[in-house]
Symmetry: D2
């Protein structure tokens, strides 16, 4: 490999996580400066993600920039909040209400400008609220047209900032419009802007019964569109946001292999929800798993792996993995 992976994490990893039952969170809540400080305690972490309005705004931007810099970190992604307030409940870019659509687009543009000022080249466009919960609740056509037009408008606002679309099949809506790698590529092709690409969140891919390795390969093959990666794990049926390496170790290995093979150059960012765990430990453990998987690929040998894949021999693949991990 030789290449050193670059790790990032949303600073919210270090805050109390909440769910719909324990709304105040399972642990302690911290101010942003403390979250940044805690990020520095994670071995191997050199980048952080921030959420617009939650962590950065027009007033505190210079402060945050200084804090991040002094902490020896860089901002790798700014995520506009178009999904965490009640007003987005019926959608953001795809809302039936033109005022909400305009507000969502404005929010994204703000995050793009903040990203630029923070020397961060990526913003994360997650259409979490754009979907539906019930039958006969959605006009699929106008929804897609609005999402396409809104994304184009954002892309043209600051072409030097990369917009990464984060797909997810469901939650918080029971159905999200942009839910799979295939529909993401459809969207990217329709949007047709060089600064609009995709992120794979591994857990979202698992929920969609995707193999993230395959999804990564497709995004790179059809336009070099894999701009960013979110790592986590789950039990395949829901976005449990577990630490990396909890369950799907073999698929993690396969993903890491294809990221290298398809020349992925972006960050290895964590998107975990350590509800009942310490965030610093959870992030450190996740990074160790990713590094261990990366190292194991070298031990297995990239050429040997390529040869095994080329023959589609499942038992040779199994033996190769077993010898590397259990030998």
């Amino acid at each position: 490999m030789a290449t050193q992976l670059k790790f990032s994490a949303n600073i919210n990893t270090f805050n109390a996580c909440a769910d719909r039952y324990v709304l105040t969170g399972y642990g302690q809540r911290y101010p942003t400066d403390e979250l940044i400080r805690r990020a520095t305690q994670v071995e191997g972490l050199t980048g952080v993600e921030v959420v617009g309005l939650w962590h950065v705004n027009d007033d505190n931007l210079a402060d945050i920039q200084r804090q991040v810099q002094e902490a020896g970190l860089v901002v790798t992604c700014v995520t506009p909040d178009i999904w965490a307030q009640g007003k987005w409940g019926m959608g953001s870019f795809a809302s039936n209400d033109p005022a909400i659509r305009a507000a969502a687009i404005a929010e994204v543009k703000k995050s793009m400008r903040w990203a630029k000022r923070l020397n961060c080249e990526v913003i994360d466009l997650w259409f979490g609220q754009d979907g539906y919960d019930y039958p006969f609740q959605a006009d699929f056509i106008s929804a897609w047209e609005r999402i396409i037009a809104g994304t184009q408008e954002c892309a043209d606002h600051l072409p030097e900032i990369k917009i990464v679309v984060e797909y997810k099949p469901k939650e918080p809506r029971t159905h999200c419009f942009v839910g799979t790698v295939g529909s993401t590529l459809l969207l990217l092709n329709e949007v047709d802007r060089p600064n609009v690409g995709a992120m794979i969140d591994v857990g979202h891919a698992l929920m969609a019964y995707e193999n993230a390795a395959e999804s990564a390969a497709l995004l790179q093959r059809f336009g070099k569109k894999l701009f960013y990666m979110h790592f986590n794990d789950n039990w395949r049926l829901w976005d449990d946001d577990l630490t990396v390496g909890s369950i799907h170790i073999v698929e993690l290995l396969e993903l890491m292999y294809w990221l290298d093979r398809m020349d992925y150059q972006g960050w290895y960012a964590l998107d975990i929800f350590p509800y009942r765990e310490d965030g610093v430990r959870a992030a450190a453990e996740s990074i160790k798993w990713i590094n261990a998987a990366h190292g194991l690929l070298d031990k297995m040998g990239r050429d040997k792996i390529a040869a095994v894949i080329a023959k589609s021999d499942a038992l040779a693949a199994s033996a190769m993995i077993r010898e590397a991990m259990m030998g």
Copy 2:
């Protein structure tokens, strides 16, 4: 049928619903007296459920009792909160910490006493936090022993109050110990107390790939243990808590048929999360669906249904349903 169904709903149905993204809720939050008032606006609703500590406590019990009575309602269930505070995060009855276990049991007993004073015969024992998220995180044996012993202790505290165990395969933990109708019956047999039975939450059964009709039949056949029902709907893979009748209409019909056939005498309670909908409308619509399904069974004819089932003829069943619903 002749029998009139009795409907209840948790008064929280009429409050803003929150999820892990929109923690402050999608709508407006109301005080308890307003929740009770809103319950009276739902046509057909005569019962309400309350949650211990959230809605009732030692100080306000007489007040709540009066408000409910003046509203022309009865309290059908008190649910102890052993799952909505950070301190329960690592479990309640099955916690490794004896102090937490004792606190959880004490909380349940308090709810039992409140129930008694409210002339309510049921409390809902949901072990939502008793489970695990990760491999190698649970000692299954001690967990079950603690749950059995704790439930027995509660049952013996006030034998005139019915404890209904509400099973659910997952959420908030990725795995809950008491997750299916089968493991619930195992628990009930081990606990072996006449005042301990089960509730079926229809959505939880769907998540577990159960047919709620079958689960109801089993609980009644093996000990008359179906004490309570929670109605809602989902897309089968997650506890979406949709309004009744959204998706699984045929299974709703089958469930209603078997509840009658197995002589279920309890409440038809709603457990829905109308995140983006008005709670009063959502409850009213759910009740209309249940009543419509109940009425449709009469139209189809109970004898005819029994005859179709006895022959296991899927196409006769399909035609019977089609003619009743689409005719």
Copy 3:
């Protein structure tokens, strides 16, 4: 509506169905002429699908054409067999073996020629064996390149014959390359031939956690690419191939509505596996459900439905459906 729907079914519907346990089938097996004769017994059925090699070949083509014609039927689709023989086990168009790839393409071209001679304009391209079962078993890039090139070659062979790609997330492989509506649209865009479109098999869409109505809308919006429909039902997690109307009635209604709204002009074909049922009855019952759903939309009122959708009001939608079906 006014429009009368056109119904078809694979003649194999009328044969014994087998699974991996009962390989000889649950019922009686019939020769092709008897299968055609049985198709005529299904009220409302005017079309049939045949499978290449199973039912038609160079030698019997004239015979079959005459039999179908005398039966008063038309052939609506010819399905090449590139998935039901051991030799396709490691893939057809995406096989690592160039001889197998060539054989698969030749098989498809044969079916195209047979279709032309049968006055049938559609062949069904299902890449059932093109996928993988295990990690590290697939080269995703070469697989997609082979599928694209092979499909283009077939499309150019007889441009007057429509090739409909039938996507399915899994089975017989644990992962199929062309598994969702999104990846299908990606494939169609890359293939870029006017005579290559898609089929939605409703059960395959359900397995992929798609709403078939949404999938249909997308295929029509992005290129008028919905050429054909396969109807059946399942319990959402597997391709159970149940009769139509068994479970997902509301989603059936929504699908029928959007097919009309998006101007779908093709056949309403059945793809069911009545393992333990009589095929003639199963097909007739399925057609009755589709017609009933279609009729119900008129009863509900297309304008009213459009208005409800436009407002995204889940409870208005629920009431509208309830009144139409349960009223």
Copy 4:
């Protein structure tokens, strides 16, 4: 550990596997003597399972016994065929037809007698066809009563033979009556015979969203009822019958740990379907994975594992696994 695990496999592992598309199988079909011969080629395999009627019958029993003995193997399980012929399609023990029920029970008793003569102490009772496919198709109560009575009758026929109930949530029916570990324990308690216990098929447990380690612990805790184990793997949503170690390595480790801890004394049998793989290689690879997992537990240290579990510390568990496997 010290203990050496005992491995078995159904001899059908070495035959061509078929599915509902490729009914003649993906590979070559062999006679029984060749299947036995091929079993001897699998390193570490000392036991075989046979299926009644398929491999053994009254006429060939002595022959088979001699062949197995000469091959240096023992028969570990006889599986009566009450699920692989069309006549069982509407059920075996739970059939509405008393003649079918009697025939199924007679078939099981025959396998019990064959088992006895083969010095095999286990027969596998899998109610694969006892369930339903459609709503309103099953009388759950009479089904359970028939299953209980039939199992008791078999148990009393030859008390020295162990009957192991193999649960599975679905397939070939969309719903099987005995589908989870909980409903299995319910059945065992009702049957109440010392020679009736359970088998866990790991893939069936995964399909049911069970953690097989937890299921094993429950079966042992509540009556020492885990009599047999079937190993395989899948993608969690369907009984893919993959080779062991393909996907769920961490859960395999946890299962192996709990089997030891709960004093499981039975066979480690393979139940895999190597559709496109060589059966001998597939079995050998599976055994290597199980042995490797067993060895890894020693490397991790049983005491350390117990200590980690006792603390419910997910991150300590993750680090422990990572260091053992990736270190």
